[in-house]
Structures are given as structure tokens and as C-alpha cells.
């Protein structure tokens, strides 16, 4: 059951119809999240496919970011936040005490809405992660990791002559690609992106989308976006959240042409719910 993807609504527990031939990278079961007394996520079960892009959409405050942060235990860092349920990755529950959250976060990388390069050189921005995780044997090896990560993020040609410049000296779109390169550098399996293009212009957005499309051949990507068009363009599967619940998940084509749930329809067509 864990290596199949459920299509359609997840309202009925234990029902996982139509299993496409994609393997599951992460499997979330009955996730509930609380901020103190207040519940933000209600009993969400979602299978996330490997080597593909899953888009999380839904109205502001519906819990997209909260859910995304469950996937690399970033909610641990939030005071009063409590996560219940099971998130399996390679046969292990990521919330189990044997899992080191720092290590987990190198395998499940994250890119935020606002590009947040460290106040260091471009080179150091990339090298930092591999260094603390001991991924490079010496300078030459590190140079290679830096170049490869920047190339994969589509930034190498633009910065190869100025690797010592501050990361913050780049344009917003370049900074976002730098952050993606930084996430890639530690060889993650999953990349979480929370509205990665909302601060970017259409050209920079197109470059990130092109990059996401390229990265999905290698990684499992989960992206939160407020743009229906972006979700339709970059993702293969789309999950619609509403009031903390997962209302509907399915192939992106299906969600945007024939959603099954009225709430999904109302949201993506811009109607009063």
C-alpha cells in the first residue's frame, strides 16, 4: 500500500483507488498539527511521489506551510507546535526519536518564499552544508560540489567569475536559484518549496519553473504556490487544502480540468466558497 499513490479524495480513510506506476517517496498518514490548543491540520493522509512535483494549493491560512514544514520537521523549531501522525520515508517514521532532525533536513531540503542567502560569499553559501555534513574530501572536491550545484540550479554561467561576491549581492531571482543550489548541494532526496516565486518577476519565475522541471528528474519536489497557473505548469500532482483538511488530491490535469470536489472547483475558478 505504501508504494502506491491514492487518487481522488482522501476523505474516506483507508481508500486508495487507482494506483499509478509511480513510487512513493514520503507517505503521510493521519497527520494532525496543533499550535497550542489550536488545531491547524486535520487528519491529513497523503502519499508523495518520487521524481515528480506535487503542488499544494489552497486559500491563505489553510495549512499548506504548516503541512510542508511537517515533512522536514521544521515545526519542531516552532514554540508550542505539536505534530501527530506518521510520516514514513524509506521505511522509517521521520518523527521517531532515532531520526536526527539536522540530518533529516539535509535530505529533505527547503526553499523559502523570500530568498535567504547567508551573509557570506556565493561559494560559502553552497559549501556550508556539504562541509558540516562532511560531504567533501578537501578543497578540490568542494569546488566540484559548488560548481555542480550551481550548474544544476542554472546559475553557474552567471556567477562563475564572482564566486567570492556576497550572495546577497545577487538579484532576487538569482538569490532564489542560489538557495536552490544550496539545498541541492547536500544531496537531498526531497526539496520543499514554499511559494518560491512569489517575490520574483515573470522572467525569473520562468527560470525557476524551468529549473523545477529539470530537478524533478532527480528529486521529489513539493511546492506550495498561490498561483493556479504555476501549479498547473510545474506539477504532476496537485493537493487542495481547505481549513486544515486535505480535500482532494489527483493528477494535476484532472484537478484543473475536472476537479471532483465542489470546494476545489470554487477555489481554482475564483468563486465564493
Amino acid at each position: 500500500m505504501d508504494d502506491t499513490l491514492g487518487n481522488g479524495t482522501t476523505m474516506e480513510k483507508g481508500v486508495l483507488p487507482d494506483a499509478p506506476e509511480t513510487s512513493v517517496r514520503m507517505s503521510c498518514r493521519n497527520i494532525n498539527v496543533f499550535y497550542g490548543e489550536k488545531q491547524a491540520i486535520y487528519d491529513v493522509s497523503l502519499q508523495i511521489a518520487d521524481r515528480s512535483v506535487t503542488a499544494l494549493i489552497g486559500p491563505s491560512g489553510c495549512g499548506k506551510s504548516t503541512f510542508l514544514r511537517c515533512l522536514n520537521r521544521m515545526n519542531d523549531t516552532i514554540e508550542g507546535c505539536r505534530v501527530e501522525g506518521e510520516i514514513m520515508m524509506e521505511g522509517k517514521d521521520i518523527n521517531s526519536p532515532v531520526i536526527d532532525p539536522v540530518l533529516l533536513r539535509s535530505r529533505v531540503g527547503m526553499v523559502f518564499q523570500k530568498p535567504n542567502p547567508f551573509p557570506k560569499s556565493i561559494y560559502e553559501n553552497i559549501a556550508y552544508g556539504p562541509r558540516i555534513h562532511g560531504l567533501a574530501q578537501g578543497r578540490e572536491d568542494m569546488d566540484e560540489i559548488v560548481e555542480k550545484s550551481l550548474r544544476r540550479a542554472g546559475l553557474w554561467e552567471e556567477v562563475k567569475d564572482r564566486l567570492n561576491l556576497a550572495g546577497t549581492s545577487l538579484s532576487g531571482g538569482q538569490q532564489q536559484r542560489l538557495c536552490i543550489a544550496r539545498a541541492i548541494a547536500v544531496r537531498p532526496e526531497v526539496i520543499l518549496m514554499d511559494e518560491p516565486c512569489s517575490a520574483l518577476d515573470p522572467i525569473a519565475t520562468a527560470r525557476i519553473e524551468e529549473l523545477i522541471d529539470d530537478l524533478r528528474k532527480r528529486y521529489c519536489i513539493i511546492i506550495v504556490t498561490h498561483s493556479m497557473q504555476q501549479a498547473a505548469r510545474v506539477s504532476q500532482r496537485t493537493a487542495f487544502f481547505h481549513l486544515g483538511a486535505l480535500v482532494e488530491v489527483g493528477d494535476t490535469d484532472q484537478i484543473f480540468t475536472s476537479p471532483r470536489d465542489r470546494r476545489t472547483e470554487d477555489y481554482i475558478t475564483g468563486r465564493f466558497g
Partner: protein, 225 residues
């Protein structure tokens, strides 16, 4: 369905479907009138049908213009996307029906006034069921009734049977009296045009059904009579 937050979007979609229905109404009359012109040898009415065709062409162009603009500005999704897609396809089908009706009108002008009345009424008999098909599928479009669209789609074989019967009937007249061959040939083309109008109605039914349900009517589902 509730309204869009951007109310102009709702208005644009409503205008689009109103235009389609208006176009459909004109085309439906063209079918009926072209066949009435044949039945009564009414040359004026035939000429009038021919003159209505450019208006239908203009309406199709206008619908296309609206749709291109709407896609560019609104990027419709889900039911809206299906509505826009259906409007585009249906307007194309209606334009074809207009052409075929015009063609019947043109042939009506070329008939011998002394043609067998039975031949004229044969064609006119087929006009009823064909125009009813169109009427019903436009109703389904206007009311969002998927079952009604499917019903039209399922009864296309009846039109085909009408056509086959009429074909044999015309051949009989032509064999009986070779002087009727020229008119008979015109009549056969008219009958063929009506049969094709029936096919276009079936296509419209498929688009209407898709717009409403998001599902395709598949060929295997159609009962063979």
C-alpha cells in the same frame, strides 16, 4: 454555481453562452426555413436563408475573439475552462450547420418547379427530427442538463435511418422517371446535408456533455439500433 469573485468574469462567460444560444437559434431557423423553401418551392425564403449565413460566420468570429481575449486575461480553470472550450467547439459546429443549411437553400433555388411533390416532402420530413436534435442539444446547453445532451447523442442513429430510407425513396423516383434525376440528385445532396447536420448535433452533444460533467462520451457507449 456561485459567482466569481471577479464579477466581470461571470458576465463574460454568461455573454459567451448567450451568444452561442443566439447563434444556435438562428441556425436552427435556417434548417427549418431551408427545408420549408424546398417543400413549398419558396424561392424568396431560400434566398433569405442564404443571406443569413454571413451573419452566422460573423457571430462565430466574434465568439472566437471573445474566447481568445478571455483565455489571455482570465486563464479559466475547471468548469470555466470546459465552458470556454465547449463554446469554441460548439460555435464551430454551428457555423458548419449554417453552411449546410445555406447549401440546401442554394439547391432549392435550382429545383425544377415541376419536381415531384413527394420528393420535396421527403426532404422536408427529415428536417423535423434534425432541427429537433439541434433544439434539444441547445436546451441541454442552456440548462446544463447532461442527461439531455446524452439523449441527443444516443438518437443520432435515428437520423441515419431517416437518411437511408429517404435515399432509397429518391432512387425509386429517379428510376421511375429519368426526368427527375437532376432534381433527385439535388435532393440526395440535401438529405446528405441534413444527415451531416445530425452529426454536428452529435458533436455538440459531446462538447456540452464534457462541459457539464468533465467526462467524455465514448463511442462504445452509444447504442446501435
Amino acid at each position: 454555481m456561485s459567482d466569481h469573485i471577479v464579477s466581470a468574469f461571470t458576465e463574460e462567460l454568461e455573454r459567451l453562452s448567450a451568444d452561442i444560444l443566439r447563434m444556435g437559434g438562428i441556425v436552427e431557423e435556417m434548417i427549418v426555413d431551408s427545408c420549408r423553401a424546398v417543400l413549398h418551392n419558396d424561392l424568396e425564403l431560400a434566398a433569405d436563408v442564404i443571406e443569413r449565413d454571413p451573419q452566422v460566420d460573423r457571430m462565430e468570429a466574434e465568439v472566437e475573439r471573445q474566447i481568445v481575449s478571455l483565455i489571455a486575461r482570465r486563464q479559466p480553470m475547471a468548469h470555466d475552462l470546459r465552458s470556454v472550450f465547449a463554446a469554441l467547439k460548439v460555435s464551430g459546429e454551428l457555423e458548419r450547420i449554417g453552411d449546410l443549411s445555406k447549401n440546401i437553400g442554394k439547391r432549392a433555388l435550382n429545383l425544377d418547379a415541376a419536381v415531384f411533390p413527394a420528393m420535396r416532402s421527403g426532404v422536408a420530413r427529415m428536417a423535423g427530427p434534425v432541427s429537433r436534435q439541434l433544439h434539444q442539444v441547445l436546451n441541454a446547453y442552456a440548462s446544463g442538463n447532461a442527461a439531455e445532451a446524452k439523449a441527443v447523442w444516443e438518437t443520432d442513429d435515428e437520423i441515419d435511418q431517416h437518411y437511408n430510407a429517404l435515399f432509397r425513396e429518391m432512387l425509386t423516383y429517379m428510376i421511375e422517371d429519368p426526368r427527375s434525376i437532376s432534381d433527385g440528385a439535388h435532393m440526395l445532396f440535401m438529405a446528405k446535408n441534413l444527415e451531416r447536420i445530425g452529426d454536428h448535433c452529435t458533436n455538440i452533444a459531446e462538447f456540452v456533455f464534457f462541459q457539464i460533467t468533465g467526462e467524455n462520451l465514448v463511442q462504445q457507449d452509444r447504442p446501435k439500433l
